[in-house]
Amino acid sequence: MSHPARTVYLDNAATTAVAPEVIEEMLPYFSRYYGNPSALYELGQQARNAITDARERIAAHLGANPPDLYFTSCGTESINWALKETMFAYSQNGRHLITTSVEHHATTHSCDWLKKRGYEVTYLPVDQYGMVDPAQFEAAIRPDTVLASIIYGNNEIGTIQPLEQLIDVARRHGVLLHADAVQALGNLRIDVTKLDVDLLSASGHKFYAPKGVGFLYIKKGLRTRSFLDGGAQERKRRAGTENVPYIMGMAKALDLCMANFDERVTRETVLRDHLIKRVLAEVEHCRLNGHRSLRLPGNANFSFEFIEGESLLLSLEQRGIMASSGSACASGSLDPSHVLLAIGLPHEIAHGSLRLTLGRDTSRADIDYTVEALKEIVAHLRQMSPLYEDFVAGKKQLSARK
């Protein structure tokens, strides 16, 4: 394939580029302060002090008590830990868990795993925007419900759930609530104390830290056990030598995100709205998936009728644009994304979906270039599409009858 003149990265919900300041922050902990934080000599204590500092910095951004943050290897680990160990720890109270039909696979597959072991799972439906109704959540709560797990900001369609209201419902019924904040952290202001959330998962590489580090917030007093068996790290709750440089990188990344939070989020939101407005105005037979305004600042998700997502992605790539799709072909399975089906899209429309996720480096020129490319590609693929041919023929027949 020939190399395009320009590259535009619009897949920031998949991962982000590590910020240069973050790399800078991490470097000394590879070869200078390389000690094991569990070692008693100074080299070890330097590493221990570093992660204490990182924990305090991250906790400050979240309104959390530092000891309630546990470093993990990724968002998936945090979610697995939160769901499985909470259900085990409280199994005397019941074996029922409530979640939504728009969760990440880390949650849905953990639920499947629990179901095979005698737990029961209720999947809450969502409306056409991907929003959970707190009243439906309340109605789903049973005497044996232990935990609810809610994706705060949706990774595919960007919809932000009414988390405060859902937590309020959970509180009133004595149900614990885990928030999957993997996409939300860095994009929404989160105060775990004000929210009164019980567990919250996050992942560093979604906010300009490297892949391979995340954390789980566990409210003080909650019963849990180490998801990994081994040493006494993380107050005996997460065995395994701490990934010191990556933890330092994650702290720095969150510092950066919060330092210019309003400016960055406003800028991304304005650009996202510019993208949405242009695409909806300039491309026919296209719809926006997810909520119009209650959505993550960088997320735009469209469905283009009569075309298929993988062809769209590859055509974009030929123009240097990197994005993602919920089509089956793009994922390697037969079914399109469960999130797109949950919001009521028919299969053939879900196949033609495109997720564009902006980041701190996205420019207006990137967006305009992408819209122009999209217009050409969609027109080309429709020209090739038998579905579009039938649609046009149908329209001609209709107008001939008039």
Partner: protein
């Protein structure tokens, strides 16, 4: 996303024989939109049974587009009997292979050609030796895939 050979990408970027034929000798459509691919093939066949022209339209992934392009290339200028001998393996090989999850797309190309030939045979009330009535949906017998 599947990783494709250069040839697949080349045919995807510059598909041969894309379009339609007005008043075709035969036309066939296979696949279904729910599974994500539909392929339509048009033939212009002369009275000696030679495929003078062929066009296609495809809704689907890059593999579906590339196999449509290659399959139409392979049957163009051939007799009906020769076209029947173009198998999905031949299409796959001509594209330097397809990722395993995409091999079913080459099946679709073969089916689309057979469907268009069937239409031609019906229109002309002839029987084509070795041609059986194609299924309208090649996915209908496919087993549900375990997703993890």
């Amino acid at each position: 996303m599947a990783s494709y050979s250069e040839k697949v990408m080349e045919h995807f970027a510059n598909p041969r024989n894309m379009g339609e034929i007005a008043n075709p000798s035969g036309v066939g459509t296979v696949g279904n939109a729910q599974c994500g691919d539909i392929m339509r093939v048009y033939f212009d066949i002369d009275d000696k049974g030679v495929i003078r022209d062929v066009k296609f339209k495809t809704f689907g992934c890059a593999a579906a587009v590339a196999t449509s392009s290659m399959a139409t290339e392979l049957v163009k200028g051939k007799t009906i009997q020769e076209a029947l001998e173009v198998t999905n393996q031949a299409v796959c090989e001509a594209l330097d292979g397809l990722p395993p999850v995409k091999v079913h797309c080459s099946l679709l190309a073969e089916e689309a050609i057979h469907a268009a030939l069937w239409d031609y045979a019906e229109k002309n009330s002839i029987a084509i030796e070795g041609l059986v009535k194609p299924k309208s949906d090649i996915h209908e017998d496919e087993a549900e895939e375990e997703d993890y």
